[in-house]
Amino acid sequence: MDFLTIIQILDSTVRLATPLLLACLAGLFSERSGVFDIGLEGKMLAAAFLSAAVAAVTGNAWLGLCAGIFASVLMALLHGLASITFRGDQLISGVAINFLAAGLTVVIGQSWFALGGRTPSLIGGGRFPDITLPFADALAEVPVIGQIYSELISGHSILVYVAMAAVPLTWWVLYRTRFGLRLRAVGENPGAVDTAGISVVRLRYTAVIICGVLCGIAGSYLSTGLAAGFVKDMTAGRGFIALAALIFAKWRPWQALGACLLFGLLEAIGNRYQNIDILGATLPVQFMQALPYMLTVVILPGFVGKAIPPRAGGEAYVKER
């Protein structure tokens, strides 16, 4: 395996980790506020569809992004309505949202484009182009550093850079701002927040909406950055992998980046080598597909230590009597 191959795999890792990372940070905001969200998958899917649909019709990826965010936030608000306002079961609400997205994207897609649930392929301005950073071409010939810069760091769509920037931003918001303090507090003890004169409901809705926005970007990236159009069920479990990454990271932003890069790497390797030979045994492609899930299940309780979610997570806030 030569250096360029490694760079290419890492390059593809970054691309594949981007939607995971955005969704993972989305989940971080929601779950830190005490609202569990297994509907990341559905929100991404809805965003992927609507952004591709709008981008296909208008030929403008940015309009597509806005539409994607809109779709995802709408779903997020539904989750908020169910789990915050009506104090329903957050897990059940998440499941419902995944089904709604899986069904509606195809039903509406078929009705609009009659392509069996797909959107037309995106061309030109309908996709987010790759950005070449300054001097990338000039430095391409410089060994190692130049290659890393021009192949790995340069040449991604704008949304990849957005995702990477979202990590320190999330950290800063969480630990350095008033909003972050309140967000962390409401996920631990909403009673403390309520009696301090802050609205629990408004705080949680804010978190859920932020979650919607980030999932919207994630979904839009899938269909207008990574791929060129929407196909049925194109999230393919990424929302759940993001959730696994969130647990791995124990709900912390930098660790989320690490976990998402790891899962992205696994996917990149799996994509590049269909069957991998190790010590004479062949690892089938299905093994690579299942690896992130197996890692989550096996490693989580064993090696990373117990991941303790925000204490008030999963439960609607009811003033105690």
Binding site: F86, I92, A102, V106, S111, V297, K306
Partner: protein, 364 residues
């Protein structure tokens, strides 16, 4: 102290929830430019209009009874088993292995063996998440979701690389021996002079499902194990006080749950396809969630909800065929039912409770 009467809780609220779900579904159909009224007529006609439609409806119903009970039994222990899909997939593997292992002379021998195979494999697939929840505190929702994906990958691998018949292009096993053929409704009803459609897949598994409903009732409300499961589900700390082991109950409840999901395979794998194919579960595991929610984890409710979804499934197929509305419409309806009967339950319940309270005051 007037509270909401029981009939309102058991009947009225689900009825309102369901009507809302259908109303919104109707709006969706209308929004994609179709006539909801025609759609409903097509669905009812196609699923209850003749014995072919009915046979399909009851075939789907059978699947959903199994997966619905699987979710329900776990729910009584306050465990959210979202892994019915994977457990049914692996249950299918168990049934297929049993059916292929022996040249069965007659279905009366094959069926009990297949029941055992399906239930064991399904239970085994639930055992690891159960263990991790009970001993390691890994959340069962997360692990069962992960196990759904792992099951799909596992089955894909086995069908492509191990179980496929040489020379066959499709990823599927060879057909089961004729002795493993389960009697269909056509064959069962013919002796009574009833001419049930020959091609409808409803089979004797439906009766097994009905037995499971009764067994479920007895288990949950009449046995010591059921008592322990419910007690644990209501309050873990109280269960510990009473000497009920949380680890034991978590594992047993999940084994029963996985077993029920795995049992589904006698219907779809043994009764219908008569071979193991990829993605034979077709989302039935997830529909079990909606069925259990709507059925309030009670066998009567589960039966009615399974019947409803059987109708939706079969009706949805007819819609796709005649009205070119994608089958995914059913997924939308399923999502709406879960949302309204599960997560948004309070939206209907709270105002209704207030209403009954004010009635109560009026009487007093």
């Amino acid at each position: 102290m007037k509270k909401m009467p029981k009939w309102a809780d058991v009947l009225l609220i689900p009825a309102i929830n369901l009507s809302l779900a259908f109303l919104i579904s109707g709006l969706v159909i209308w929004a994609i430019g179709k006539d909801p009224w025609v759609a409903i007529k097509t669905m009812v006609q196609g699923s209850f209009g003749d014995s072919r439609g009915l046979g399909y409806t009851l075939y789907y119903t059978t699947n959903f009874i199994f997966t619905g009970l699987a979710v329900a039994v776990a729910s009584h222990a306050r465990l959210f088993n979202i892994g019915g899909e994977g457990q049914a997939t692996v249950g299918g593997l168990g049934v297929a292995l049993v059916c292929l292992a022996v040249p069965w002379p007659h279905w009366t021998l094959a069926l009990p063996a297949a029941i055992l195979g399906g239930a064991l494999f399904g239970a085994a697939w639930a055992a690891i998440p159960a263990y991790l929840q009970a001993k390691r505190g890994s959340h069962i929702v997360i692990t069962t979701i992960m196990f759904n994906f792992i099951a799909a990958a596992l089955l894909g691998y086995l069908l492509v690389n191990v179980l496929k018949e040489p020379g066959n292009m499709a990823a599927e096993t060879r057909s089961f021996p004729p002795g493993a053929h389960l009697p269909t409704f056509h064959e069962m009803l013919a002796p009574f002079g009833i001419d049930f459609n020959k091609n409808a897949p409803a089979n004797i598994s439906f009766l097994v499902a009905l037995l499971c409903l009764i067994g479920f009732y007895v288990l949950i409300w009449k046995t010591r194990l059921g008592y322990a499961i419910r007690a644990f589900g209501q309050s873990e700390s109280a269960a510990v006080y009473a000497g009920i082991s949380p680890v034991k109950i978590t594992i047993i409840a999940m084994l029963i749950s996985g077993g029920l999901a795995g049992l589904m395979a006698i219907n779809n794998v043994m009764g219908e396809a008569e071979r193991l194919i990829l993605n034979s579960v077709e989302g039935a595991g997830f529909i079990g969630i909606a069925v259990a929610l709507m059925g309030r984890n009670h066998p009567v409710g589960v039966f009615l909800a399974a019947l409803l979804f059987g109708f939706l499934y079969q009706g949805g197929a007819e819609l796709a065929l005649w009205e070119s509305i994608p089958r995914e419409l059913i997924v939308v309806i399923q999502g709406l039912v879960i949302l309204l009967t599960g997560a948004l339950d309070n939206m209907v319940r709270a105002p209704l409770e207030k209403l009954f309270l004010s009635f109560g005051k009026g009487e007093a």
